[in-house]
Symmetry: C2
Subunit: 338 residues, 2 copies
């Protein structure tokens, strides 16, 4: 066990990433110094935000440099500890990156206590995606009984929880997802009130039928072609948390009609709130309350979630590319253990 | 004095309103019943929102019907009272419409006490435009010391107060206005830190130079071509109160590139807040505090304002059309007294 593997950014993508943008490298196993841990990755989280890190364009976080290990959060096991509070075999969650092993600073890890809940849940419904759904809905969306919520990418890890939490708050939940299978899952497994396939030819008409009282919260979790159908349905004082725009991450078409003037006029006439957010803004104020509220409901099965597990670090690039294309069904996680 | 005059909506405009869309009518002087007043209009307020009332399209308020008197707020004098609390000669502010006389219900009037402040101020800096500026900035914009505010239509009645209040809150105020004269007025009379002519060929470059630390609040008070210059300058957590879009009221061009994707990506990456509002949302909570704060500063001249006065009810349509074209310089008020 003297070598480890990692996946680095080989080149920046122009448009949609391809396998050529990634490269597997190996190196000598690193050694922790005081306050550090050597950890072995068990489960690596694959998330849409990683597309942003592959570009040099300025965003809310620094890009990954070409040749650098791809960023990513994982559940990992302590192999060697230089911190008296951590011991071999401890489970932690940390930003280890796309690699089999890593050195992490103990200030930047959180402990995972294995109990009734599978540890991978701490990458999905109880991890960053779940917390994103929770604060976006609670702080910005603010659902009220009887209101109508629409969420895009509804079968993904964020959208799934958004819809379930909206229903727990007494609102109607309408999901937008890619394909009949995901739509069926939303209604039968997650308890959404309705669902509509974003590929449907008569998408705008169906969405309108599913929202007879308009839309009070549009949780924007995908971007792209849904907006023209959503905009005319937004009610006065509707809230639009902008959480993810996966449809735009590979590049933006500026062709076609300009939707901005209609958008701004609707913002004004209906007193809309549009608010972009990154979950980190709310961690200090809301993270412990999130765990306190959601963990028990996950443990009892009252809140459901779904994982899309792939095997082996080598599979990470294709799983990532597939996720950007909507080919996953649930939270994408790379399993590095047998 | 047995006849009165009014201006009615003769037809709905297609695009920019013309004089043909208005018609002067006369009628027999109306008679108040119990709880009503007959009032004589002294000063009629002309405002951009009236363009919306001329269209049949749904908005936050009902359109004016064809043949109906144009809506508008005025300072008026009581001619005949059927309410024991009001007497001939009392001054009130009320939605009398574009007319020389009107019947108003005393539940829908507010008294104006003539004192050190000219009564027309209650249509501008101490009226609806001033209150709009106050709540949009205070509730949504939330300026902090050292921040940079940019406001469009800055020489108008809303923008003028927005900039002055931002400076009182310790922020830098940069105004966008049409023409060198208005820009000079912003800096020399109102104390804005900088101003830029929206017609300037190198508008985007100048705006960037005037905002070396980016923009923390963009008070959207005009709409149209400024957005592409503003968008890249918006800082993380910037706030965009959307108050008016006069550039779009006569119709929306959907040609050219689609600015929505770039806008949404920036909303997400910089955690922006965009919030449309109509001042009425905040009246019950903030109106008395507004008067308490702003009235003394207007009385002492610490807050400045400017009026664009035109003579006679007949002049209302052309004054309104001129305002939509930006040809006014200050709050447009029609004077109906000699």
């Amino acid at each position: 066990m003297s070598a480890y593997w990692r996946i680095v950014l080989a080149s920046r993508p122009a448009g949609a990433p391809t396998l050529d943008n990634f490269r597997v490298e190996t190196g000598r196993m690193p050694v922790p110094t005081s306050g550090q841990l050597l950890v072995r990755t068990l489960y690596l989280s694959i998330d849409p935000y990683m597309r942003g890190r592959m570009s040099a364009a300025p965003s809310y976080a620094q890009p990954v440099a070409v040749g650098q290990t791809m960023e990513g959060e994982a559940i990992a096991e302590v192999v060697q500890s230089r911190d008296p509070d951590f011991h071999e075999g401890d489970l932690v969650r940390s930003k280890v990156g796309w690699c089999t092993h890593a050195i992490v600073d103990t200030r930047h890890v959180s402990r995972i206590q294995p109990d009734a809940i599978p540890i991978t849940a701490y990458l999905s419904v109880l991890g960053m995606p779940g917390f994103t759904a929770y604060v976006g809905l609670k702080v910005i969306g603010q659902p009220k009984p009887g209101e109508t919520l629409v969420v895009s990418a509804a079968a993904g890890p964020v959208g799934s929880l958004v819809g379930q939490l909206a229903r727990l708050a007494g609102a109607r939940a309408v999901g937008i997802a890619g394909g009949a299978m995901k739509c069926r899952y939303l209604m039968t497994t997650l308890g959404f009130d309705s669902a509509v396939d974003r590929h449907a030819e008569d998408f705008a008409r169906v969405l309108q039928e599913l929202c007879p009282d308009g839309i009070d919260i549009y949780f924007e979790n995908a971007g792209g072609a849904t907006w023209p159908a959503v905009l005319p349905l937004l009610n006065r004082y509707a809230r639009v948390p902008v959480c993810g725009l996966i449809a735009l991450y590979n590049g933006v078409s500026q062709a076609g009609r300009d939707w901005l003037p209609d958008t701004m006029l609707t913002v004004l006439r209906r007193s809309l709130l549009i608010r972009g957010f990154i979950n980190t803004e709310f961690v200090s104020e809301h993270y412990s309350e999130f765990l306190r509220e959601i963990e028990p409901m996950v443990a009892t099965g009252r809140i459901r979630y779904r994982e899309h597990m792939v095997d082996g670090l080598d599979a990470a690039p294709s799983a990532f590319i597939g996720m950007l294309e909507g080919r996953n069904f649930g939270k994408v996680i790379v399993k590095l253990v047998q």
